[in-house]
Symmetry: C2
DNA sequence: GCGTTTAAATTGTCAGACATTTAAATGTAA
DNA sequence: TTACATTTAAATGTCTGACAATTTAAACGC
């Protein structure tokens, strides 16, 4: 962890990058203490505020954590699942909202990923995850439910489906895809009729998983995807021409 | 963007969080200019260094970018695909390397996700992506190839497979899974025999995609997964008992 | 031997200053 | 008038020095 040539980029960015590389390469290991801010400032020949800005960059990526007091300092942080989930969801949500991703493309990606979990979920679903899915299906049938609550319940249902695969890496990867879709899903207005249809698909999925029938679950998911797509397209079309049709 | 109660957390973290929420909620839109550091310091009633630390946190997540000079400042950044890829790969790699994820679990997740792309890839593969896959297969057959180059070529092959699906959201999601596996894959020593087998699987996949046969491609992927798993388990077992067997 | 106090180390925050960069405004000459 | 050079202003980047808050360990007293 040495070098800062006569680069013209921000010093704090260079220092953060140098430390990140040490961590990524495993030369700084989990829970290891970094030198104090004063020592880092001396080492890199910069001032303490510059070092602090670099450390804050690393902290924002959950690469380090800091503690005050004697024997405090900056420590290499073990990236936990919740932290990784949060980072992934933030990034995915922004990517979708800022880049004019079409509803079709996002929808296709989401359901393709969910179908990937289905064989594992059908093999490993537990009474617990099934119960979660059944409870959300029941909630989705309640007439007084707001659109926001319906969407939130939809997310919970699909997360239970993903978690049924019992693979934390898969759950982590899928979390971004499912959660990031929510703002797009919220744009769809759910009528009573469309809610009824969605509840029907969810029921078919839960039934198929309960019977360990992966193919049936995938088929239901594919039909749900097609249905969601038509709902999305109708909304988009209605927005494109506000009040034109005779 | 208002409040910082008598919270005891770092002021710079609170300020960064407040601004991030504004961006996530869409109240600060892409390319919009934030107030200057001096104005933010005045608004939040903190000093400029504290504001700067908050802004560096946001910059580390690619939420803002800064420009010097007159009419410079901090601007809400449009999260690009390359930036999102980088964030995702960093997070995924650290999650896997720091949490004692078993080879089996990581492998299962990776191939499940790749199989999710296969139907789309079989339908949409182009001469271009097929050519990339063929070229990498050829490279993988060269006898003088180092293990590192073989692994890099393996990543390129699988990325071409994913990109064949022609869905940028899917490519983004998969990038983390494929790239993050590389350090684990690098731990496996490839003998000439195992390389030959892998090249065989890759050829079957490319052939199947060329003929638009999704099922055959998925079958080959599944067999490749099983084979990779046995390779990984052998390596793990050999490490567990260094020199015991009679 | 145990509880209390003190000291030391470290991060968090502040104030003020100067350096550097950038684009607009201004001035000047062809 | 137009083109080019200069000045100016605004903003970020960096530094210095200081003080506050926090936490642990050691010193101290009983």
């Amino acid at each position: 962890m040495k070098i800062d040539p006569d680069n013209k980029a921000d010093l704090s960015a260079q220092i953060a990058e140098a430390i990140r590389e040490e961590i990524m390469a495993g030369r700084l290991i989990v829970d290891e203490r970094l030198p104090s801010e004063a020592e880092l400032a001396d080492h890199f020949e910069v001032s303490r505020p510059t070092v602090r800005e670099a450390l804050k960059r690393l902290a924002a990526q959950s690469l380090i954590r800091t503690a005050r007091g004697a024997f405090g300092g900056a420590f290499v942080n073990r990236l936990s699942y919740p932290e990784a989930y949060g980072q992934h969801i933030t990034t995915s949500t922004l990517l979708l909202s800022m880049n004019a991703i079409s509803f079709d493309v996002a929808c296709e990606a989401r359901y393709a990923l969910e179908r990937a979990c289905t064989p594992l979920a059908a093999a490993r679903r537990t009474p617990d995850t099934l119960a979660t899915m059944r409870a959300e299906i029941h909630r989705q049938g309640q007439p007084g439910l707001t659109d926001e609550s319906f969407c939130a319940s939809d997310v919970t249902f699909h997360r239970a489906l993903v978690d049924s695969a019992d693979n934390p890496v898969l759950s982590y990867q899928l979390a971004g895809a499912v959660e990031a879709m929510q703002p797009l899903m919220n744009m769809i207005t759910f009528t009573a009729r469309s809610r009824e249809a969605i509840v029907g698909f969810h029921t078919r999925i839960a039934d198929a998983l309960e019977r360990h029938e992966a193919d049936a679950a995938q088929a239901a998911l594919s039909e749900l995807e097609a249905y969601t797509l038509t709902l999305g397209r109708d909304v988009m079309a209605a927005r494109a021409r506000p009040r034109q049709p005779a």
